[in-house]
């Protein structure tokens, strides 16, 4: 592996971090927003931050609910 590829590999590995606390905060914030639009509980939402092969952080969020709160949006 050449020096540049090695550098990229090292930099990307260093971006993985312990996301527990970060994820917790992010989930609370996202929940606040989504709960305006979705009939959702905290347990129905999960978020995750990953690092892709180019070293970008990718935020993934999954939110499941039975109903959307469309009232107020149908003007």
């Amino acid at each position: 592996m050449n020096n540049l590829n090695r550098l990229n590999q090292i930099l990307i590995n260093d971006k993985y971090f312990d996301p527990t606390r970060f994820n917790e905060l992010l989930e609370i914030e996202v929940y606040k927003v989504l709960s305006h639009y979705m009939d959702i509980t905290r347990e129905q939402i999960s978020t995750k931050v990953e690092v892709d092969v180019e070293g970008n952080y990718v935020f993934k969020c999954k939110a499941k609910c039975n109903r959307l709160k469309v009232v107020g949006l149908l003007k």
């Binding site: 020096n3 550098l7 090292i10 971006k15 070293g55």
Partner: protein, 257 residues
């Protein structure tokens, strides 16, 4: 208000103090009023590099602890009248200098200077955060060596937690002969990997090595590396004059599909 630029790196010995001094000197030669702050409390070097160690009556700690006014702690450069230093030579009975205390000193300097350059200590502990807290721009100095680059990457990640106007990269000790032989990663590739804006590169310099063997002689530097520092100062002074380069998150264009 002055531009407050913190010179940081993570790793020690990559040239933060050298860059702080020669960048400050070259900015002052462009007619700017510059003060360089040594916040490497306890392991200060700026005073010796700048050759002002024998002219210090009061220092940063004296100013913080109200033993003098901030102005009394400033030392004017004998090389350029627009260049000043706020040294830090008190290494004992310092107590804990808070970020707020340091910020208060910078606020006093704001009106009198165009640039406040903050020579940050190595590491990523409290001292690092204290220095960054006071700045509104950052320059990460690195060498093209793998471990320095790795630390620069870590520092770049930490800096994104602060609301800094811009974070630029300076690559020091570049050997173009090594780069062309592909032994050294090129500055452009490094900037690309670190996802930072490259402000300038400084060549490896035998003259810096020689001048560093004595104290306060670095202003005599007169080789291509001094040309690099001059170009760096011009880039900072003219091309990136307080233009925020970080996108406001509302402006980010969303790629679809």
């Amino acid at each position: 208000m002055a531009r407050r630029i913190v010179i940081t790196s993570g790793k020690g010995g990559v040239g933060k103090t050298t860059c702080s001094y020669l960048l400050g000197l070259n900015l002052a030669k462009l007619d700017a009023r510059v003060v360089i702050l040594d916040v490497d409390i306890g392991l200060n070097n700026l005073d010796v590099v700048a050759g002002i160690d024998t002219k210090i009556n009061y220092d940063l700690i004296d100013a913080i602890q109200n033993r003098c006014r901030v102005r009394q702690a400033l030392v004017q450069s004998s090389v350029c009248s627009r260049l000043y230093f706020l040294p830090c030579v008190n290494s004992y009975s310092v107590g804990r200098v808070t970020s707020e205390a340091l910020s208060a000193i910078l606020r006093e300097l704001d009106i009198s200077f165009d640039y406040i350059i903050i020579d940050c200590p190595a590491g990523i502990g409290f001292e690092f955060h204290r220095a960054v807290f006071c700045a509104n721009e950052a320059i990460i100095v690195t060498t093209p060596h793998m471990i320095a680059l790795r630390d620069a990457g870590k520092v770049a990640n930490l800096l994104s937690g602060y609301t800094l106007g811009q974070i630029g990269l300076v690559i020091n000790r570049v050997r173009n002969d090594f780069v062309s032989r592909k032994m050294m990663i090129s500055p452009e590739e490094i900037a690309n990997s670190l996802k930072l804006t490259l402000l300038g590169t400084i060549r490896e310099s035998n003259e810096i090595t020689a001048l560093s063997c004595s104290a306060g002689e670095l202003f005599k530097l007169n080789d291509s590396a001094m040309g690099d520092f001059c170009a760096l100062a011009k880039t900072i002074h003219y091309n990136m004059a307080s233009k925020p380069n970080r996108e406001n998150f509302l402006d980010i264009k969303i790629k679809r599909g």
